[in-house]
Amino acid sequence: MLHVASAFCFFGGSVAAGVLNVLAVRAERPSETAFLLRLIRVVLPVVFVGVLGTFVFGIWLWHRLGFPIGAGWIWASLALWVVANALGGIGGRHQERSRELAERLAAEGDASTAELRALLRDPKGTAVSYAAGVATLAILVLMIWKP
């Protein structure tokens, strides 16, 4: 139960952060972009509880349910968990840079610039965030499929 609840925090928190990020990218004014990107910080504790809980309770379940030490799907899930967190961290730093620029522009007349639009729609930053989402989804597939 605690492992699944943690997974809901991990996945649900990531969905919420993703929604706020997409809304921030689509916002017209830098002040609105900065506001929505700031709100991601509110959601992050939910994600962190999920990240920690899925690992701790997952390892506990591994031992308790007697899955073999060589279970490939569990090792693959652990690798994807590391990848998802690393990519999420990189994506988060990109969002922080966008937020800082948006806050500066908001204080200087609240008009969007090409630099902010380019930063928000940066293909690398977007790809990293989507890759983190795909890795998280792949963990869910492995957890339910248990190949």
Binding site: M1, F11, G12, S14, V15, V19, L23, F35, L36, I144
Partner: protein, 134 residues
């Protein structure tokens, strides 16, 4: 794919839909409390397809595993939260729409309250279903 499609897909869709629904309501609660009407409406709009996928997965599992007449508490809680929950979901969307149109603070407070209540109900449901209560 076909080899595991029967047991895999219904549960996968049910859980994926439920997790997305949960995330959409977390986002809705956060932006509603922060006072952003348009973002609240957008977050709640994402919850609609997620709710449909969750329900479709649940009905598929119930059909395949013959759980339609089950008296298990955890299934009852799941049904109670998911199906009548659409009233809260649609009520939240209606209030969020009213909020974006009117800009009235009371509409925002109603959306935040409804979303928070549904998020709490979803939390109880996910704990009941994952813990197989009763």
């Amino acid at each position: 794919m076909l080899a595991f499609s029967r047991p895999f897909w219904p549960l996968f869709l049910h859980v994926l839909g439920a997790m997305t629904l949960y995330g959409a309501f977390i986002a809705a609660v956060v932006v509603a409390i922060a006072g952003h009407a348009r973002a609240t409406l957008s977050s709640l709009a994402i919850a609609v397809p997620a709710w449909l996928v969750t329900l479709a997965g649940a009905l598929w599992i119930a059909h395949d595993e013959g759980l339609g007449n089950s008296n298990a508490t955890w299934i009852g809680i799941g049904h109670l939260v998911l199906e009548p929950g659409v009233v809260i979901l649609l009520g939240s969307i209606a209030c969020a729409f009213w909020w974006t149109r009117s800009g009235k603070a009371v509409a925002g407070r109603v959306v935040a309250g409804l979303s928070l209540v549904y998020l709490a109900l979803l939390t109880v449901a996910l704990l009941a279903m994952s813990g197989k209560w009763g």
